[in-house]
Amino acid sequence: MDPIARRIDRLAGAFRGTAARGAGRLVGVAVLAALVVAAHLARPGTPAARGAAAAAVVALIGALVALTVRERRTWRDARRVLSRVLAPSDPALGARTLRALRLFEGTRERGDERHGSPELARLHLERLLDRASVDAITAHGARRARRATLAAAAVGVLTAGALVAAPLRTVEGLDILLARDGVAPVPLPWLADVSVVARPPAHLGTTERAVLLGLPARLPEGSQLTVRGRPRFDGRRLELYDGARSAPFVADGDDGLIARWTVDSARPVHVAARFGAVVIRAPEPVEILPVEDTPPLVELADAPRTVELAAQDRVELTWRARDDHSLREVRLVLRSGTREERRVLERFDDLQPAAAGGHAITPRDAFLRRAYLPIEVTIEARDDDSLRGPKWGTSAPVILVPPAVGEPEARRHRALEAGRDALVDLVVALAARGAERAAAAALTARRAALARELEDAALASHAGLELPAGLGAFLRGRAQSLGRPLAPGESELRRAEDALLAWDTALRGLARRDATSVSRRLADVVEDVELAARLARRTEDTQRALFRLDAAAAAARAGGGQLATLGALGADLGDVARAGLERIRRLREANDLGRTELAARHLAQRLRHAAPSFRSAPSSRGGPSALPGDGAGSGAPSRADDHFDQLAREVEELTRDHAAAVAEVERALGGADDAPVPEELAREARERALAVRRATGRLPRGAGPEPSTARGAAALAREHAEALAQALERLSLEDAVQAGRDALERLTDAERRAKASPAGAAGVEADALREARGRIAHELAWAERLLEERTRSAESRAHDALEKVAGTEAELARRSGNLSARGRSGQSGLPDDASSDLERAGEAMSDAARELRAGKGSRALERQREAQRLLERATTGETSAESPGERAAEAAARERRGDPRRASGRITLGGEVPGAAAEDRARELRRRAIEGLGDARGPLAPAVRRYAEGLVQ
């Protein structure tokens, strides 16, 4: 090593050996202080604060690096070393040494020998360096070290002060400084004595349970977590946080904090402290395994399957539904083309995880009658998930293939035509018969057999379509009349001809009415063609509209074919439909949708105007409207229907008159009710009503879907008991007696069922049944006694009025007997059962008249009511009266025509589609509503829950 360098190193070593210790301390303390400052800067957690802190740390590191570099350079440079080490301790020597060093460097490096040789310069420098005092330098180093140590101590004291005063703040600050994605890396325990309780959604009806931190917990979606704890540190904003959303802790009023959290995902939920945009989580989260609420599972027996509706009188649907929590509603859903109808089958207020039931639909159903495309029938069940909104489970479908429009009517017409043909054959055979006794007997037997067949035909159903009551009664009457033995001298041929012409007249009348109604229904189908053609032109979904158009056109063609079989009017209208549909087909094939729409509109309007193609008002003479006739002129082949209708009208009139007589007796007897009720009696009745309610309070509430169980029967008994109580309060004794008897009957039923099937008696206590029975029987006896007293009193008061009604009743009895006799005779009579009912009604009326004369109003009223029931049963209606099914179909068609959407034929577009944010808000609203209202307890809980559900839907 160079002697000069060695000497300088020695001097430097002497200095650094003492001064470096102080400098090191100072740097260390400075770094620590800088970190503390940075931590405090970062702690607010805002991006700006964290940025400033990070900048400070970076600056510190930069400064340290720069200092290190500078020091290294300094200690490698002899001149700087002498300046730092020697000059401060011995300024004169230092200056001379520095000059000697320059001289030495000049002679050695630049070869400048003007001031001497290099050796001399070296020697000079060495001597000067030798003269330098190591001790002095060491002392100087020691002084520097002391100053640095003092400074470090000062900074250290300040830093330590800061750390001691709020050590966690520095930790939090550093944690926050190092946070990524808003989450600090080092967890900190924020709460002491933490407890977590999970409460499942109210609709599940289950109890709360504790959840342990750090251990996974299976919780139903929508469960509410309640986290409680004591804060370890003041001044922190604590919250529950799962990485996506948070819920704040609030004071629980007892030095603790509480927060609630609704489970909706599998993310762990942490207790965390929020610092601006950063959270510092607690070490142990609540681990959640959410259990999803699945839609109900619905099974429909034998589904999927396809059923030809025309071959069925009814379609049975047996279903079973279950849910992981509870069912709320079960519906029958019918869909055909673009139409849909949803019918409620069951509704459940209580917990109902499973249900089963049966339903039957008939081809007479209004929806089915209007449908011309296959109908998809499903059972859909809704669960009670009021958090996410109800979910529907759907069964596999049963596809009903409807008959063509008018097919049931055409079948019925064919069946009646077959009966007419058989009658024609009988008439022809009777006209052609010889004189042989055997042949005559055979024909008589054939007549009797045919009568039975015709009666069956009058009762038959065709694809669910029966004859209207009046017409059915008329035809049955004719069939029965045909089958009766001949009176002496009566012509068998004439009897058969009468039956034939009556049957024919009825058939033609029915065909006319059927043709009218089928034509109007066919108009609906053609209207669909029109609508589809319009949609195909005006909407983007042309293919769908064209599919609908073709389907409707095909259905209209099939319906037109059926219509054409319905008598003369049907043939005419069917031919009109054929011609119109042919034009529609041509236009459709030419893709001329505009004119397809026009042609369909015309045909729909024409079919709706279901009149013959040509008609005119009756004319008494020739002229343009006098068209060739069929030779029958203005005569009618049979007036049997007119006579029957006359009889039916008289029966109806009698029924009305008798109802008035019944009302008169009721009024006369009810006059006693007008008397003021003593307050004492009213109070007693109220007390008895209260007693009934108390005694039945332990019976189950709500009849529910299964009245065939003991529970269902008991619930029904409770309903009747409530009716009894109300009737008692009103002192409506007849109602009270009836309700009391019904309640007792149900209680007996419940007891019997409970014995037979204990499983179905859950929640039904035997002693509750006994208690209810005793009380109801007691109060029923009281009501009966009171009623009897009242009746006696009323009868005595109403004696004169009753006697007056007796005359009317006797007259009505005579009319009834007369009608019964007329109903049994001739070709226009009533069916046997109706005549018999009239006869029995007449007898009952005679009895009633006798009782009325004797002042026995109550017994007379009973007989009157019996007579009224028989009269109503004998009331057949006229031959031209529509059946209820026809009326329903017509009403449905009217409703359909009045539907504003159909009337305008336009679909309004441009509606707003809710976005994701709106969905979130809706969900939040649901959550709040359920949280607020779903906790309802007590007797009104189901109602409150329904209200809440209705609100969130």
Binding site: R420, D421, V424, D425, V427, V428, A431, A432, E497, L501, D504, G567, A568, A571, D572, D575, V576, R578, A579, E582, R583, R586, L587, R595, T596, L598, A599, R601, H602, Q605, R606, H609, A611, P612, S613, F614, R615, S616, A617, P618, S619, S620, R621, G622, G623, P624, S625, A626, L627, P628, G629, D630, G631, A632, G633, S634, G635, A636, P637, S638
Partner: protein, 507 residues
């Protein structure tokens, strides 16, 4: 020759209009041309018109209606500029109904016959040759009697029912159904009911001739002829296109008019309202037809046919019937009406009895006849022809002059294989009270003279061309469960007609 002159005139008008270039169309002139059915000339006149002029648009819409182009009429008349025009609104409603009723309808054009027929029901195409034959002859009759050359093509809408007739013509449906309207001449076209609409046909040939006369009168007078003149001449012309037929009764209108005067049911020649089809009852319509026909016959009897030509020519110029009447005859209409009324009332009272043309009397016991007839019909439909024949023969005894009964009985006998009895039941023309399609068809079948058979069949076709026994030349599908249809005629047109009749069998 006349056709050539008219075509030359039209061409000249067209050339003149073209030469005029931007000369504005005169809506009044267009209207006159359209009303006199000179549609080509009207079209040429419109060609130079300003499309945005509401008056021109109105006439353009009218022209479209007159040529049966209802879609165009709807498009033109829907223009906002015409929204407040009541004429346009009325025409638009008709055009819409027409466009809907005729959308997709087939058009058959017969250039030789100068005929344009739009058949709403495709199955009625088979009737077009029959229509053409009558139309040609009726056109010739109009030329001869009225001095009017009808334009070519003559346009006929053959519609399926009254509903369509009302839609195409604009006649209220209720009115059409009250009076039993069979045809309407409106908008330069004949709109006529298909014989299949009425179930048992009607005298469609005379009806067509009647309506063609209306068109001729419109053309002759620019639609200025009063209703009594329109209907009187049309009714008179109904049978003048053909030779006289059995059961024609030229005095019927006089008798009916006399009855109306005597009974106080007279409608009044000048009190017909907007249309006979809109009178309140069929009886009123019958009386009105009879009165106007009787009056016109009386008037022409006094003044001769040339007076008709003069009256029409005058009306075309004046447009005022009263002035024209005075101009032609020297006296007002009231004078001639009073004269006619005196004449009708002075005529001897008609005798009763079974004179030819007399309408069938009502049977003594309508219910009894109806009973037997219905039993017979049911038996026949079931294939029990012999039993049906017995019943229907019994019905004939009660109503011997009813041709439909005789036809049904004859059918039953023929189905039972008893031709002689069929002939006896059918009887002769002297035995029946009126014409009947089926009766004449059976007369044709049972006739031994081919010429007589042909004449009978023509009569039948004129009444009920779509009855199977008529369309299939006296043959039909018998009743009964196992019946089969006989072969149709071999010739193309009769075969098509027979098949059309079978395509929609009657009940």
């Amino acid at each position: 020759m006349r056709r050539g002159i008219r075509a030359a005139a039209a061409a000249a008008v067209f050339v003149a209009a073209s030469a005029a270039g931007a000369a504005p169309a005169r809506p009044e002139r267009v209207r006159e041309l359209v009303l006199e059915l000179s549609v080509e000339e009207a079209r040429a006149e419109l060609g130079a018109g300003e499309a945005s002029d509401p008056a021109v648009a109105l006439e353009r819409g009218r022209l479209a209606l007159y040529v049966g182009d209802c879609d165009t009429a709807v498009a033109v008349l829907s223009a906002p500029a015409l929204a407040s025009d009541t004429d346009a609104a009325s025409m638009l409603a008709t055009a819409r109904g027409c466009a809907e009723a005729t959308a997709g309808a087939a058009v058959v054009e017969d250039a030789q016959a100068g005929l344009w027929v739009r058949v709403q029901d495709d199955a009625d195409r088979a009737l077009v040759p029959l229509l053409a034959e009558v139309a040609v002859r009726a056109r010739e009759s109009s030329r001869r009697d009225l001095g009017v050359e009808l334009p070519r093509p003559l346009r006929i809408d053959l519609v399926r029912d009254l509903f369509a007739l009302a839609a195409v013509s604009g006649l209220p449906l209720e009115a059409a159904e009250t009076t039993g309207t069979l045809a309407v001449a409106r908008w330069g076209r004949v709109t006529m009911l298909s014989p299949r609409a009425t179930g048992r046909g009607y005298s469609w040939q005379d009806t067509l001739a009647h309506e063609i006369t209306h068109l001729a009168l419109s053309r002759a007078t620019r639609d200025a002829a009063p209703l009594w003149l329109q209907e009187g001449l049309a009714k008179r012309s109904e049978s003048r296109w053909r030779a006289a037929r059995p059961f024609d009764d030229p005095r019927e209108s006089d008798r009916t008019a006399r009855e109306a005067f005597v009974s106080g049911r007279s409608v009044g020649v000048t009190e017909l309202g907007p249309s006979i089809a809109m009178l309140p009852t069929p009886d009123a319509a019958t009386t009105a037809f009879a009165e106007v026909t009787s009056f016109i016959e009386h008037w022409i009897g006094l003044h001769g046919q040339p007076a008709v030509w003069a009256l029409l020519a005058d009306l075309r110029g004046t447009g005022d019937p009263e002035r024209s009447m005075v101009s032609v005859t020297g006296y007002p209409l009231a004078y001639w009406l009073a004269r006619w009324e005196r004449g009708v009332l002075a005529a001897p009272e008609p005798e009763g009895g079974g004179a030819p043309g007399e309408r069938p009397r009502a049977p003594l016991d309508p219910d009894a006849v109806a009973r037997i007839v219905r039993l017979g019909q049911l038996s026949l439909a079931r294939g029990a022809a012999a039993h049906a024949a017995i019943l229907l023969d019994a019905a004939i005894e009660r109503a011997p002059r009813e041709p439909s009964l005789r036809a049904a009985a004859a059918r039953a006998h023929l189905e039972a294989g008893a031709d002689d009895r069929a002939r006896r039941s059918l009887g002769t023309r002297a035995d029946v009270g009126g014409a009947h399609g089926s009766w004449h068809a059976l007369e044709a079948r049972l006739a031994t003279d081919p010429a007589a058979a042909k004449a009978s069949l023509e009569l039948a076709l004129g009444l009920d061309p779509l009855a199977e026994e008529v369309a299939c030349e006296g043959h039909w599908t018998p009743g009964g469960p196992r019946a089969t249809a006989p072969d149709p005629p071999a010739a193309e047109a009769p075969r098509a007609l027979c098949l059309a009749a079978r395509s929609a069998p009657r009940r």
